[in-house]
């Protein structure tokens, strides 16, 4: 089974966005750890046994199961997404809720929501774009550094700082609310424009399957 080009990169953004939706934006790091873990497992297992029939579904199932483990194990130690607290607390609703969040429509919303969240007015334009490239496009620090013609250290610092800023938000950006939408929309569009412009045309087309709404 041949893997489609940039499959991991494409799936990384979707998975982080959905896991952040479930865990809450303050647990962004945890979401990234779960994704990293899913890729490690895929790498270890697929290299010996070959890729499965449906690699995306395999990755989603792995991330979903790992998320359920984390949610069960750390239920008392951590708080998760405030919007989902009640559903995640009860064993009756936990699995169905996570299942629903991993559904195709919910995942698309999650990506969009994450993108708007990255375009926080508390971050500079460069930081917003770097964060989108990192979180939603699965770019490594080195890859972003070369896109920005910058050093590894300074990009790493910028991303770490930006993540901290995002993680202190009370919750993810509400894409259904009108508040601040227009302001962030222009930032999102600018980020998308830069993505295309910075020679990442191919990657952006693969990873960001979203067309900005006509406004």
């Amino acid at each position: 089974m041949e893997l489609s080009e940039h499959l991991f990169r494409h799936e990384a953004g979707r998975m982080v966005a959905t896991l952040t939706r479930i865990f809450g934006v303050h647990n962004l790091n945890l979401a990234e750890d779960v994704v990293q873990d899913a890729f490690c497992r895929a790498l270890e297992i697929w290299k010996f046994q070959g890729a499965p029939e449906n690699p995306s579904a395999w990755l989603m199932t792995t991330a979903k199961n790992r998320a359920l483990d984390v949610l069960r194990r750390e239920r008392t130690a951590r708080t998760f997404a405030p919007e989902l607290t009640r559903q995640l607390e009860s064993e009756w609703t936990l699995a169905p809720t996570v299942e629903e969040e991993f559904g195709p429509t919910a995942m698309k919303d999650d990506e969009l929501r994450m993108m708007f969240s990255c375009c926080s007015p508390r971050l500079s334009e460069d930081a917003q774009v770097a964060l989108i490239l990192h979180i939603l496009c699965g770019f490594s620090v080195d890859e972003i550094a070369s896109a920005f013609v910058s050093s590894h250290a300074s990009i790493e610092k910028r991303i770490t700082r930006s993540k901290k800023v995002i993680a202190t938000s009370k919750k993810l950006f509400d894409i259904s609310g009108a508040q601040d939408f227009a302001h962030r929309l222009s930032a999102v569009q600018r980020a998308l424009y830069l993505l295309f412009n910075e020679g990442s045309r191919e990657v952006a087309a693969h990873t960001l399957r979203w067309t900005p709404p006509n406004h």
Binding site: F8, L43, F48, E143
Partner: protein, 113 residues
């Protein structure tokens, strides 16, 4: 023809998704090449990085197998080759070598009746 075991050690660095995919595709290409030349008896299995180590007469059980991640065997493959030299030569194509990993090449002992 003789049989050899490749033991893969270390080589597990943190990577971006894109890099992880590239590493995997290298592994797949390497296995494919070996298989096409008839060198793969069994592609083998990946091993979990954690386990237990049971030691000595007192049968002490500790978390293991190794403290150092670079020493942990991450999987094995059963290879068919002419001799040890050829087996070692084949192992040189393993992508793990690009990531500070090692391949241990061990002949499977033969029963000469």
């Amino acid at each position: 023809m003789n049989e050899f075991v490749f033991l893969y050690r270390g080589g597990q660095a943190g990577r971006s998704p894109e890099e992880a995919q590239q590493v995997m595709q290298k592994w797949m290409a390497w296995f494919k090449e070996l298989a096409e030349k008839g060198h793969v008896k069994d592609r083998g299995q990946p091993l979990e990085r954690s386990g237990k180590l049971v030691t000595g007469k007192r049968k002490t059980v500790t978390d293991g197998p190794f403290a150092e991640a670079k020493d942990v065997v991450g999987g094995y493959t059963l290879i068919v080759a002419k001799d040890l030299n050829e087996a070692a030569e084949l192992s040189k194509g393993c992508p793990i070598l690009e990531f500070d990993g090692q391949v241990e090449v061990r002949p499977v002992m033969k029963l000469n009746m």
